[in-house]
């Protein structure tokens, strides 16, 4: 059985903005509010 960290480390990057909201909101989310973690998870 995989440990929690092994499961997490084997996860593939997710395009967060495909699910975060409508396209017109995306720029605003990024610029105004949210410190998105790009390094491991996102394809901006």
């Amino acid at each position: 059985m995989k440990s929690d960290i092994e499961i997490a480390q084997s996860a593939k990057p997710v395009d967060i903005y495909s699910v975060a909201g409508k396209p017109e909101y995306q720029k605003n989310i990024l610029n105004l509010m949210v410190k998105a973690r790009q390094r491991l998870t996102f394809q901006l």
Binding site: I5, V14, V19, Y25, I29, K35, L40, T41
Partner: protein
């Protein structure tokens, strides 16, 4: 910022739990899994949860990123420093501490009584050595010697302030109201009196912005703020919750500890302060923990024990009744299934809940991710369409003494509150200082409805003793301390830190 957080339009779902036991309930795991299940069933969903503190990560509890296939990622980043919010909060807290002592050193024009300074320093680590210290030693050029101490950063009022603020101006205003101690004649001294709020807010400029990550299932997750659920309100920031409500149709959030502490404060403090209306609640329970509430020893929780389970279920039903009948929020029970649960135990739990008019759904999100929570998601979505008659457990117009008394009677189901003589004096002072209209944040053990951690299950006939009252004027509540509440935990004999490592490639292991 205001344009986003001012228009909440989605459904707000609170995930809470039975009274915690060392057996674990899986609240964060259920929160994340439920969100993934809602996403899988075509519903636009965002998770809003707290940031992990380094203290538990290196201590005994571990991280706070969920578990199994219901996690937020990158879990090692989230569990280790993340975006530095908690460090920024520590810096703001300690800036205020430094300004207090510097004010005294420079002549003390405000006449702050060094014996009555209530503001403590903080750091994000479990370090019992720093709970009580003497600072300012070393002679006249090294400050005024006084009793001092450290709290863990998540117990700082600055954390609670950040999590209840809705804008930078609100943040500054709340910071300026923080009471740091009293003058020689007993007048409260605030951070504003020291002109500290501007610099503190400047340190928090980035920390006030929520952090966007994702779950393993690809659901957006806002992870922001992490106040303690005993001396503070125990849930993520208002900004993150309102942002999620603006962008998503369903926002799944959680509150710390059991529903008697976490949910009560979520409803009575956070929802009241931020004008939020929850649409539904989920109470997470495990067969293992309920057996422990029913008297089973921790060493035999893997064995089938229907009588212990039956004896422990009243704990669950009391929490459910509180949410449904006191707060008026539609509720469902999520049975977080463990491999050791037997069919007979699961059947007993579901049938007992059904007899009490409560839906109980088995959740397998730890093992299956969102797929393991489809039934729960469908039930929650149904509840969100029913009428929520949300109301608070007490009126804000009650006296400071009556508020915890009402919580004890209506939520904990005890006889009432007793105040020690010292606490009675504080009651009068708090009312006289003009803080009487604030809500009350009860700090008590999370292991029992009562203030005695040994009273498991659904105890009755007890009285809760309030020993001390603290003004958190910046956060906007009065803390009623019912015992020796730990604001600086210590490490266990074998801390998780001994098993965490990093290899030559920078890959971290041992986090859980």
């Amino acid at each position: 910022m205001k344009s986003f957080i001012g228009k909440p339009k989605g459904k707000l779902i609170l995930v809470t739990a039975i009274t915690p036991t060392p057996a674990g309930e899986g609240k964060t795991t259920t929160t994340i899994g439920l969100a993934d299940a809602l996403s899988l069933t075509g519903r636009k969903t965002i998770v809003a949860i707290r940031e992990p503190s380094l203290g538990p990560v290196f201590g005994i509890k571990g991280g706070a990123a969920g578990g199994g296939y219901s996690q937020v990622i990158p879990m090692e980043d989230i569990n280790l420093h993340f975006t530095g919010d908690i460090h920024a909060i520590g810096a703001a807290n300690n800036l205020l501490a430094a300004m207090i002592d510097n004010h005294i050193y420079q002549g003390n024009s405000l006449r702050i009584d060094p014996r009555r300074i209530t503001w403590r320093r903080c750091m994000d680590m479990n370090d019992r050595q720093l709970r009580n210290i003497i600072s300012g030693l070393g002679g006249a050029t090294n400050g005024m010697p006084r009793e001092d101490g450290f709290d863990i950063t998540v117990a700082s009022e600055v954390m609670a302030v950040l999590c209840l603020s809705e804008s930078i101006s609100d943040l500054k205003s709340r910071l300026s109201r923080i009471v740091i101690g009293y003058t020689y004649d007993g007048t409260p001294v605030t951070a504003g009196d020291l002109h500290a709020e501007g610099a503190m807010a400047a340190l928090l400029r980035d920390a006030i912005k929520p952090n966007l990550v994702s779950t393993l299932g690809g659901t957006p997750a806002l992870i922001h703020g992490g106040p303690f659920a005993n001396i503070a309100h125990g849930c993520n920031s208002v900004i993150a919750t309102k942002l999620a409500l603006h962008f998503a149709d369903y926002t799944v959030t959680e509150a710390g500890f059991g529903a008697d502490l976490g949910a009560e404060k979520f409803f009575d403090i956070k929802c009241r302060a931020a004008s939020l209306t929850p649409s539904a609640a989920v109470v997470v329970a495990t067969v293992r923990a309920l057996k422990m509430h029913g008297g089973a020893p921790k060493t035999s929780l893997s064995d089938e024990n229907l009588s212990a389970l039956s004896a422990g279920i009243p704990n669950l039903l009391r929490h459910v009744s509180n949410i449904r009948d006191v707060f008026g929020v539609p509720v469902v029970v999520a049975i977080n299934r463990f491999p050791t649960d037997t069919q007979a135990e699961l059947s007993l739990l579901r049938s007992t809940c059904a007899e009490a008019g409560v839906d109980a759904v088995i959740s397998e999100v730890w093992e299956k991710g969102g797929e393991g929570g489809i039934e729960l998601a469908e039930r929650v979505a149904e509840l969100c369409e029913t009428k929520s008659n949300f109301r608070f457990a007490y009126s804000i117009d009650l006296s400071i003494a009556e508020k915890p008394n009402t919580i004890v009677k209506r939520i904990y189901r005890g006889v009432g509150v007793e105040f020690t003589p010292a606490a009675k004096k504080q009651l009068d002072k708090i009312e006289a200082d003009g803080f009487g209209k604030l809500p009350v944040c009860v700090a008590k053990t999370q292991y029992s409805f009562s203030d005695d951690a040994q009273k498991l299950g659904a105890p009755e006939g007890f009285t809760v003793t309030v020993k001390n009252l603290r003004v958190s004027a910046g956060a906007g509540f009065i803390v009623a301390l019912t015992g020796d509440i730990m604001t600086m935990p210590g490490l266990p004999k074998s801390p998780a830190a001994e098993y965490i490592d990093i290899d030559a490639n920078g890959t971290i292991s041992g986090l859980f």
